[in-house]
């Protein structure tokens, strides 16, 4: 499934947030969108499934502009893990994960046996097996995040969009979540777009990295190409370097120090 952003522009009121983003996203890759607060990365992600509509440019899914598709069509191919706020209604974990099947059901239709299988599978995979009947409004931010990840997996998407997916998670869960997502990606060819400012995690799990700076794409490429000390200094204002974690043979980013506000 091809997925492409062409010359995307977005403006909030009079404030320019995205200024001409062009980015072909490859099938089955895990792509990280990095940038400091307020650079427009979350806005970019929301434009990818028409949660927001661009003021210019297009998002093409299999060559078709998503502006011309229904929300349901989009949701049957693209799932998202947004940043979550508190949920005030006492839905169970299973209720929430089951919502992932909505794009495939008719307005009044219930759950098919296939749906139930997929829902239970997503619950098991995210380690929520014992939490099935827990009430979402009694859970912590990190637990809620896991439930939302399970829901996105139950949506059996071709493309998964994640906005700061590790923000509230325990350290071990941060790794588990990204490991799970990357294994699903390897198995089923699911494309994953992750917005984050967690440099070590992104450098480890992403095939490609896009750095956003001043509302434009600053650099695109493999972690080695993009996460150079110069780029990280310019964009994140830190003294950092991409290194190999010898013990496990994977990349990580060492952050030595902040450079202070210029």
């Amino acid at each position: 499934m091809s997925f492409e952003v062409k010359d995307l522009r977005y403006v909030y009121d009079d404030y320019l947030v995205l200024d001409g983003i062009t980015l072909p996203i490859r099938e089955g890759e895990i792509i990280g969108i990095l940038g400091p607060n307020g650079c427009g990365k979350t806005t970019l992600l929301k434009n990818l499934n028409r949660n927001l509509s661009p003021k210019g440019g297009v998002v093409l899914l299999d060559g078709q502009d998503i502006q011309g598709m229904t929300k349901k069509e989009i949701a049957s191919k693209i799932a998202a893990v947004p940043q979550t706020n508190e949920i005030h209604f006492a839905f169970t974990v299973r209720d929430i994960v089951a919502m992932g099947r909505m794009p495939f059901q008719s307005m009044m239709g219930g759950e098919s046996s296939e749906d139930s299988r997929i829902i239970d599978d997503a619950i098991e995979k995210t380690g929520l097996g014992n939490y099935r009947n827990r009430l979402i409004n009694t859970m912590s931010g990190g637990e809620r995040q896991r439930v939302i990840i399970a829901r996105a997996i139950a949506q059996t998407p071709k493309i998964l969009l994640m906005d700061e997916p590790t923000l509230h998670l325990d350290i071990s869960m941060q790794f588990d979540a990204l490991k799970l997502v990357s294994s699903i990606s390897k198995e089923s060819g699911m494309t994953v777009v992750i917005v984050s400012h967690d440099l070590p995690l992104v450098s480890r799990y992403c095939d490609r990295i896009v750095m956003i700076h001043d509302h434009r794409i600053f650099a695109v490429g493999t972690p080695e190409e993009v996460l150079t000390p110069e780029n990280m200094r310019t964009v994140f204002n830190v003294d950092a370097e991409l290194v190999m974690d010898e013990k496990i043979g994977k990349r990580t980013v060492m952050i030595h120090d902040s450079l202070g506000r210029p």
Binding site: R50, N51, K71, N85, H88, F89, D95, I148
Partner: protein, 339 residues
Amino acid sequence: MDVRTKTVIALIILVIAAVFCIFKDLSWVSANVSYSFQEVWEALIGEGSWASERIVRDQNAPRVVAGILVGAGLAVTGSAMQAVFRNPLASPYILGLSSGASLGAAMGMIFTVPFIPALIASPILAFVTCFLTMALVYTMARAGGTVRTETLILSGVAVSSLMSALVSFMTFISGDKLEGIVFWTMGNLGNADWNEISFMIPVISICAFLLITQAKPLNAMMIGDAHALDLGVDVKKVRLFVLVLSTLVVAAAVSFVGVIGFIGLVIPHIIRILLGPDNRRIMPLSIIGGACFILICDYISHVIAPQFGTLPIGVTTALIGAPIFVYLLIRRRREVGWN
């Protein structure tokens, strides 16, 4: 006993109580006099005495049907609004819709409106003012992008008192229609006759049905608008659709029977405490619960002070609903969702 069994038992008790109240309401003549079951039946099928047919068929039966429609309509509307506003406190009454609709209805009663038949002048004007109220409250609450509980309730209270003041003004200048309007604003099931009910039946039942069809998208919207969008729900469309339907139900209910509070708030709450927040259960059960609640309240209205006649239903629902609401507020915070 699991939740499901408890609910079924509660429902059976409720429906039996409601059926008992329906019979009591239909057979009511005065505090000491009521018809037998056979007399009620004969009056309903047109074989009763002249007096029993007037009282049972033309006076008591429309009252019962109006009660069922209004109770069911307001309760399902309350559950829909609580989902749309993602707020367990939202209800037609608290957000000022009821007083908004009464303004239009009062205008329809006092003035002769050109081009619109008198029968539907009040409901049409009620719909217009009700919708404007909804738009006003929503816009005020939305200032800054997100709808917050505090701003929603505050703007509801503010707009509601503005509308109530305008209704009072209308009442004050209404001259010889004053008594009728005052009585109507208290909420009275006896206000509706068969003509008016034949107008309410399609409006309220179609709207209630259409609201139920939105149960699943509304579930997703209760998690958050962004989540609902990600799940393929056209949030703007669903929100507008539900708010227009709610406005229609409230306008129809208010213009024919007056302001009846607490049903839209209390009924969905109680069901949510018993069965959880899934609107596919909450909305149909609100319809049954709302109808039963109002019928029971109506029976209480008959017997509470018979020497003064039947109490306006709005008084009874508030007398019973307000304490239940306070109980929920104090004792059941967590289940209701006020963490």
